[in-house]
Amino acid sequence: MGGFQEQFLRGLETTVLVAAISGAFGMLVGLAGAAAKLSRFRALRMIADAYTTIVRGVPELLVILLVYFGGTTALTALVGSYVEVSALWAGVFSLTVVFGAYATEIFRGAIQAIPRGQTEAALSIGLAPWQTWLLVILPQMARIALPALCNLWISLLKDTSLISIVGLSDIMRIAVVGAGSMRDPLTFYLAASALYLMLTSVSLLTFRLVERRLLAPVH
């Protein structure tokens, strides 16, 4: 493949990095979003509803383009001279926003699946709300949310390929460049597919192991 192996390796690194950072931040956004949706404050609920409705209603590719070009426009206006947003951070930000929106819904559903009595039992012995969250809600929520989160993570891994459109040197970008310059598209796209497949397989296995450990005691 004419020295593209090493490039692919760096592309793989970038893909994993972007996915990992967006996934981690997206989880936090999802938790906050779910908390907002279940909050007793109407304003918070409305903000969270608007967030998930808009983000889930717009194609991921467009979110990335909007963040990239919107970010560039905004930063340029702010600084006064032309500033270009880095493809990596625009990508991480976009995918965090997307992952967070779906995670919000997953977490909200999982929390609502926990019987009310679980919280009441915690409150009745005098636990504070934050302790109730930490000791009673989160562990049970994690078990319920895990299968859906696994799906979401797999989507995220593959969605990183969309960031190549704004110039991120991830697996996809290397494949496109390689395919063009070596005039052998099939080989390069097969190689890229194999890399994505490897990432998703490792993820699925990991999730299955975690699930087996966690799922033992449920309702």
Binding site: P129, L135, P217
Partner: protein, 273 residues
């Protein structure tokens, strides 16, 4: 409530004036949705009393119990824990009320052990961990002390051998006994039982009732919402009969249950007539 004071004001160890109730509800009103569930309920539990609250489903007895530890916040009326009035304030922007002092609510809840109809054990924790959670995170005991405390109460309810089992590996009766141990491990001042045997198969109610009876015999202060009439008659120092969100009759079980004054209670005790 007047009855309660009359019953106990002459007890020598309770001082000359009115005795201090461990837990008292005063003229509590609560509407759930549009349905007025409690319409001015007053009830006081004095130290070492066992009060059974009887009544048909929907009479408000569970809601009353849940108001006592602020799982439901009364719309109006007061809850007193010993000499301390619980801070309840009107809710801003909606009907009803809210807890005014969260710290006080937590402290008082920690002193009021509650046992639920559906046990509400935490499924991701073993029996021992279920019982330990309060001692560790609320009472602030060191882990080792908390383990000893939890073991002590599991032994008391006869489930020490099951300490490492998860709730789903325990029978309903065993789960409820773990739930009782969990409440006891807080060393509460008052125990609240919300229909503790209603979710159990008939053959499993016995073990739970035996556990509750032994607690009554220890002289613990308890308020028990129940459908088990004969049990209420045996263990209670006082019974209260609720109907339509009010306490219709209240007094010693032998009086109230043998010579019911109200038509409602007569019907409740003997639906055939």
């Amino acid at each position: 409530m007047q009855t309660a004071i009359d019953l106990h004001s002459d007890a020598p160890h309770r001082g000359p004036a009115v005795a201090t109730a461990s837990l008292r509800a005063e003229n509590v009103h609560k509407t759930l949705g549009t349905h007025p569930v409690l319409r001015g309920v007053s009830l006081a539990a004095y130290p070492h009393e066992v009060i059974s609250v009887l009544g048909a489903s929907g009479s408000g007895k569970s809601t009353l119990l849940r108001c006592l530890n602020l799982l439901e916040v009364p719309d109006s009326g007061d809850i007193w824990f010993r000499n301390e009035k619980l801070d309840i304030r009107p809710a801003a922007g909606r009907d009803g009320a809210r807890i005014g002092d969260a710290r006080q609510a937590r402290r008082v809840r920690a002193s009021l052990g509650m046992v639920f109809q559906s046990f509400n054990l935490w499924p991701h924790k073993t029996a021992l961990e279920n019982v330990m959670e309060g001692p560790v995170h609320v009472r602030g005991l060191a882990r080792r002390t908390a383990v000893e405390c939890a073991k002590h109460y599991l032994r008391k309810v006869g489930l020490i051998e099951r300490r490492d089992h998860y709730p789903r590996h325990l029978s309903g009766g065993q789960q409820q006994r773990v739930a009782i141990a969990r409440a006891l491990a807080m060393e509460p001042e008052v125990l609240l039982f919300d229909e503790p045997t209603s979710a159990l198969d008939p053959e499993l109610t016995g073990e739970v009732l035996r556990t509750i009876r032994s607690l009554a015999e220890e002289g613990r202060t308890m308020i028990l919402v129940t459908h088990e009439l004969s049990f209420a008659r045996e263990v209670s120092s006082r019974v209260a009969f609720m109907q339509g969100g009010r306490i219709e009759e209240e007094g010693p079980p032998e009086e109230v249950l043998s010579r019911p004054a109200s038509a409602g209670l007569r019907r409740f005790l003997d639906p055939a007539c």
